[in-house]
Amino acid sequence: MKIGVLALQGAFIEHEAVLKRLGVDAVEVRLPADLDGVDGVIIPGGESTTMGKLAVQYQLIEPLRELAHAGKPLWGTCAGLIFMAKDVGRDQPLLGLMDVTVQRNAFGRQVDSFEANLNIQGVDGDRLFHAIFIRAPLIEAVGAGVEVLARVEKDDAEVIVAARQGNLLVTSFHPELSNDDRFHRYFLKMAESKT
């Protein structure tokens, strides 16, 4: 199993470290040729505008879309969720794969960044998942084919922070920063079922 981690900017090394602990080959993706032979791709946290511009400049948008259309799993965390979404309410380069509407920096500025324990649909075990939200986006609306995996409280309402649409997975928090690899194992199962 070989997983590509988009390494244009952001916390890609943290994802690689978890994958390596799980015995999976992780390759850094900066150019289209780096995608050769990958079984799935993780798009890490970072700044979505930075990643989007570099992805356009180095012709990564179409190859990533083709991988997704070929059924290979893609997982976006935080900025990766923004990058995979169809609509983020402003003009910036996007893959536009996931049928979700995203609000950027939805919980406030950095002083409002937080940690919380979430109940996550479909992730192994009864334990709550300790989720780390950093200037995090949220999912305002989902299309018909999208399954909601987790929600968090915001202003007395519950908002969507993890979702899946077939081979596409998104989380607005950072499982790569938690000492809990259940989300990575969940993603690797998606990749195994495709190989």
Binding site: G10, A11, E47, T49, L54, Q110, A116, I134
Partner: protein, 295 residues
């Protein structure tokens, strides 16, 4: 549902999200937009870039809150701002404005000749400069969530940033070879908290993100710092004191991402126009050098 804000994890976590990126000094909302459009992962909101602080002289302080707020409104990326070393009230003001990161910076005139801010008191994360491992670990001990080299800001001379990065990273490499019983003596020698010396040895790197800063002016400078082993770059005067800031900013972003790819660094370095004129650190009298500020 319990939500924990301002924890060490979320403070250090934002720095982790900035890695592999370029943080640019900006003095107007228009500069901030140019920086964001060029692919900056964050901006540093300032009244004057370090090269101008040197020219103006006098006491350099925190920027006008109105300017910082305008820059916050202009961009979607994180906004940082500087306070003086030890000036915890300037830091309280910056936190209340909603800046995403505070740089307790030697570029401004220090407000305390012996003490830095107790950064554990704040929900907002701090970045601090350092010249060596002891200084880096003292700042982390005080609560810094991110470290940068000091370099010699406002010169366009990358030599000091290289010196400081080599010092920190070389000392970490030497630490790897030490026996456990040598660590306390080493902690004493470099003036660093023992627990952080042990943690750094175990990790083989600083416990927080470590950027380069001070004198970076070209795409090759940015890639040099990355190959030396830093996590990302601050570029201050080097962009907006050059002939074509938008183009140079974009080139430095691309060189930071593709830092091992000489073909790409060559390509983005073409026709960038005039770099900032710069000033060699060697030619400067000691009194004009600012990297020595910090305790």
């Amino acid at each position: 549902m319990q939500k924990d804000v301002g924890s060490v994890v979320v403070k250090r976590g934002l720095a982790q999200m900035l890695k592999g990126g370029v943080i640019m000094d900006v003095v107007t909302p228009e500069h901030a937009k140019i920086a964001e459009d060029a692919g900056a992962c964050a901006v540093m909101a300032l009244e004057r870039v370090p090269a101008d602080i040197r020219v103006t002289g006098g006491v350099a302080r925190m920027s006008d809150p109105e300017l910082i707020l305008k820059i916050i409104d202009a961009v979607s990326i994180p906004v940082m701002a500087k306070c003086r070393i030890g000036h915890f009230v300037e830091a309280q003001v910056l936190e209340s404005l909603g800046v995403d990161f505070i740089d307790e910076s030697e570029v401004l005139t220090p407000a305390d000749e012996a003490h830095h801010i107790n950064k554990h008191d704040f929900k907002v994360p701090f970045v601090c400069g350092c010249r060596n491992l002891g200084e880096a670990l003292r700042r982390i001990g005080e609560g810094a969530a991110m470290i940068r080299t000091k370099g010699e800001a406002g010169t366009g001379d990358v030599g000091e940033a290289v010196r400081h990065a080599r010092s920190v990273l070389g000392e970490i490499r030497r630490l790897q070879t030490m026996a456990p019983e040598e660590l306390m003596a080493y902690a004493k020698e470099i003036g660093a908290p023992y627990e952080l010396v042990v943690e750094t040895k175990e990790l083989g790197r600083l416990p927080v993100v470590n950027f380069a800063a001070g004198g970076i002016a070209t795409p090759a400078d940015a890639a040099l710092m990355m190959q030396l082993g830093v996590d990302g770059n601050f570029v201050g005067s080097g962009i907006f004191k050059s002939g074509d800031p938008a183009r140079r900013a974009k080139a430095i972003v691309e060189a930071t991402t593709h830092y091992r790819d000489a073909n790409i660094i060559a390509e983005v370095s073409k026709n960038l126009g005039e770099p900032m004129v710069g000033r060699t650190v060697e030619s400067m009298p000691q009194a004009e050098r600012i990297a020595g500020r910090g305790w």
